[in-house]
């Protein structure tokens, strides 16, 4: 495990040097991860040794790219990483004896999830950014409560499905009530806030856990059908969704079309699909080897940034340009290793709640990566969510660290049981 952390810090240092950042950044983060590592050694000595180093590496890659795109953002992101590690430590310390007591509070988590999702819709503290009402601001602090709501929802689903999996598998309608209410409420809030990416994510997590718990493919099929019907209805009803789909299917037009942003006629690549198209150009420009860190092109010849939201939604296209196919593939491999370790944790866990919790957290992590990177790569329509651990954004970093902490807690218990059995 030490090797992993060491490798991570060397990686940070090397990256920082190339992008001309001060070595203090690297030293500071080495110290930070050393603290995180020591806390983990103390609290969860049997935990999976890969999870934390990979998380550290991903954070380092993200931080380096954010620094390259704008040093002031990197400082803020650095603070959020500190907070993230602190929360990580708190979760480990708080739940090191038995995280399974969370199961007893499942309805609290369910309601909490909905409350967190509802928060941005409240007057005064709610805030709309880029057409999506996802933010809460208190004083100078901005936060996306939905990020933590996601984890609360996974805890609820894991606990509830563990308890009711037999009856649900038998198809007793009564038992579906609380599940549907909590889940339906969450979906409703998501559509109300206009955050389609998260809606897709939650639905995916829900389906995955439902399948894992009941082993009934039919449920998944029915839910998929419901989703498709809902998606079709939504497509008809909301121009917002129609635009997204059109931009995805036909990002380039040869003639001018109506541009809803300006109300004038324009080529779609200069209007609605501008971000997607320019992001693809950014990826394509990277080619096999990339331009090299710090050598990418993100501004016009007059100094304007070409792609908006570059360090959040489009950080993958920035990374793909500078690191090329080699770097981008390596990054995706890191996600893949993390996800495989996460499922390994889930497989080795001793009880149903732990299994579902680990699977939910891991699948959510993988699906979130797929939704944003797939959107950037034009595999699916683009919806703005963050790339876990890499994108700029405090809420995302903190919640990702909670995911890491959760997986480590589960794996610690499972491995400790195996050790004990010996």
């Amino acid at each position: 495990m030490l090797t992993g952390v060491g490798f991570a810090s060397v990686y940070i240092a090397r990256k920082s040097e190339i992008s001309a950042a001060s070595l203090t950044y690297a030293a500071f983060f080495f110290a930070l991860y050393l603290v995180a590592h020591l806390v983990a050694r103390y609290t969860v000595p049997y935990a999976d040794p890969y999870l934390l180093p990979i998380a550290a590496l991903l954070t380092a890659v993200g931080l380096t790219e954010i620094y390259r795109l704008g040093p002031s953002d990197a400082f803020k992101q650095g603070l959020w990483v500190v907070i993230g590690v602190a929360v990580f430590a708190l979760v480990l310390l708080g739940l090191r004896r038995d995280y399974r007591l969370l199961e007893n509070y499942k309805y609290l988590f369910g309601l909490g999830a909905i409350a967190l999702l509802f928060m941005p819709l409240l007057p005064v503290i709610g805030q709309t950014v880029n057409g999506s009402r996802l933010w809460v601001h208190v004083g100078n602090l901005q936060f996306q409560p939905g990020e933590l709501g996601k984890i609360a929802l996974i805890v609820f689903l894991a606990a509830y499905l563990r308890e009711k999996r037999e009856v649900l598998a038998q198809g007793r309608l009564k038992e579906w009530g609380p599940l549907l209410v909590i889940w339906g409420g969450a979906m409703l809030v998501l559509f109300a806030t206009g955050d389609l990416g998260s809606a897709l994510l939650y639905y995916g997590i829900f389906l995955a856990l439902l399948y894992a718990a009941t082993a009934r493919v039919a449920y998944v099929a029915v839910a998929m059908g419901l989703f498709l019907a809902g998606a079709a209805a939504l497509y008809k009803a909301t121009p917002h969704v129609q635009t997204r789909v059109t931009n995805w299917l036909h990002p380039w037009t040869t003639g001018k079309v109506f541009c809803p942003l300006t109300g004038a006629q324009a080529l779609r690549q200069d209007c609605g699909s501008y971000q997607e198209v320019q992001s693809l150009y950014s990826i394509g420009h990277g080619g096999f080897g990339g331009t090299g860190l710090g050598a990418g092109t993100f501004t016009t010849s007059s100094g304007h940034q070409i792609i908006p939201e570059l360090n959040t939604d489009f950080i993958y296209s920035a990374l793909a340009q500078e690191l090329g196919l080699i770097g981008a593939a390596a990054l995706l491999m890191l996600y893949m290793v993390f996800v495989l370790r996460g499922f390994r944790v889930s497989l080795f866990a001793g009880d149903g709640f732990s299994k579902l919790l680990a699977a939910g957290l891991t699948f959510g992590f993988a699906l979130q990566t797929f939704i944003i990177v797939g959107g950037v790569l034009r595999v699916i329509p683009l919806t703005g969510i963050t790339l876990p651990l890499v994108s700029y954004g405090g809420s995302s970093i903190v919640s990702s660290f909670v995911v890491v902490a959760g997986l480590m807690l589960v794996s610690n218990r499972a491995n400790a049981e195996v050790e004990g059995a010996r």
Binding site: A208, Y211, A212, A213, A215, W252, L267, Q269, D270, V277, Q278, L280, Y281, S282, I283, G284, H285, G286, G287, F288, G289, T291, G292, A295, T297, T299, T300, S301, S302, G303, I306, A320, Q321, G324, L325, A328, A329, L332, M333, Y335, M336, V339, L340, F343, L347, G352, K355, L356, A359, T362, F363, A366, L367, T369, F370, V373, G374, L377, R378, V379
Partner: protein, 498 residues
Amino acid sequence: MNRQLNRLAIVAVLLLVALVVATTYWQTWASAGLQDRQDNAIQRVVQFTIARGLIESNGKQAIFAANKQRKVSGQTLYFRRYPQHTLAAQTIGYSTASRSQAGLERSMNDYLTGSNTNLSNAFKRALDKLGGGTVKGNSLLLTLRPGAQRIAQQQLGNRCGAVVAMNARTGAVYVMASTPSYDPNQIQANYAKVLKIRGDCGDGSALLNRTTNGLFTPGSTFKIVTAAAALDTGAFTPTSTFEDPGYCTEYGQKVYNAGNPDQNGPEAFGRVNLATGFQHSINSVFCNIGKQLGAKTILDYAKRFGFYKTPPLETPADERSPSGLYRVTKTGSHLDDPKDPGSVDPGRLAFGQTTMLATPLQMAMVAATVANGGVVPKPYVVQKVLAPDGSTVRDTHPANLGRAIKPQTAADLTAMMVAAVQGGTGTAAQIPGIQVAGKTGTAETSVAHVYTAWFVCFAPADNPQVAVAVVLEKQANGFGGAVAAPIAKLVLQALLHG
């Protein structure tokens, strides 16, 4: 539950694999296509991170295109500047921020940006990139002679026209003057203004490269081709005699000689031979030759001189036009190679009227072919492509496009062209101490007494060095011998003495 979890893990991994596949697609397979798209804002900037190669004339007398540096958000960008302004502007072209390019800047872009494919080149480029250094493009050394080029453009002045001068042996192009011209430095900021530039002829864009893309009725300069066919086929000799009543009868109608500027009505020479007919550019003589040879033979000889093919040159192919008969249809003007040459009026074709159109470059090639003993030299304007370290990337070796006529035919034509300058229509091109061989052309336009004036020549006649073609559009009462020949003379002098 583990079976389901295993399956979920597979789904999750497949989702991530899909991302790797998609990334691979965009970064390898689709990468080139994305880079070529006009709206690619990154490529618009990236092209300026490359220090484009210089475009200069051979011998470094003039730099046509250079760079000025500017720092933009930490990146050094290289913007193009054109120190020679309007000089040879249409041939040099431009390369601007909005990603539009023209001329050699467009056709030689791969060399100028150093992206011409070659393994060691690609390797060097990759090293430059990794080292964080600037990618430097290759420089072009042109065969253009700035002094003669400047004289040609000054002489054309505000008239619409063109001058092409080339080495009669090698095909190296010395002058490519096209007026009205424009300043390539203005393309980025004042494109609308550039579009509004008009010469004396009233229409026609300054952006048009008239030397290679301007199509003009060749008029009597085409008599060189007709005479070449007449002599080379053996159907006529320079001493073949003709009776000139001032007109030639074709399809039962009279085709008159050109009007004599001093008299009212066409000239009539009486009994003349072919050489005299050429010297004084007598239409009736050539009309009769045309009738006897037929349009097919004349067109066949024209093709031997390069007509009906886009002349080779390093400028973009769509900035060059083939010469030949043109037919106007609803969709525009099209090159017309008639299946039945009998439908073409052979008498008028013989003296370059009907629907025959030629570029100045093509007519310079005709003169150069006669000068070169009957072999058509292959024109080129880029002598060398030089790498940033000074090594030669590409060197142009003179080549030819095949033999058009026999050496004896070329010798006979030379003698007739010398006579035309010594005591015929082209006396204004005489240079003391140097024998000039030339042919005038005064083509009728749709407006009476407004002509397209030509002069096509080479010198020295006994040891040909330079071939020149001059054309002036819409000249009121402007005869080739009077308005075009003096320009050709000055360009010849500049090239032969310079």
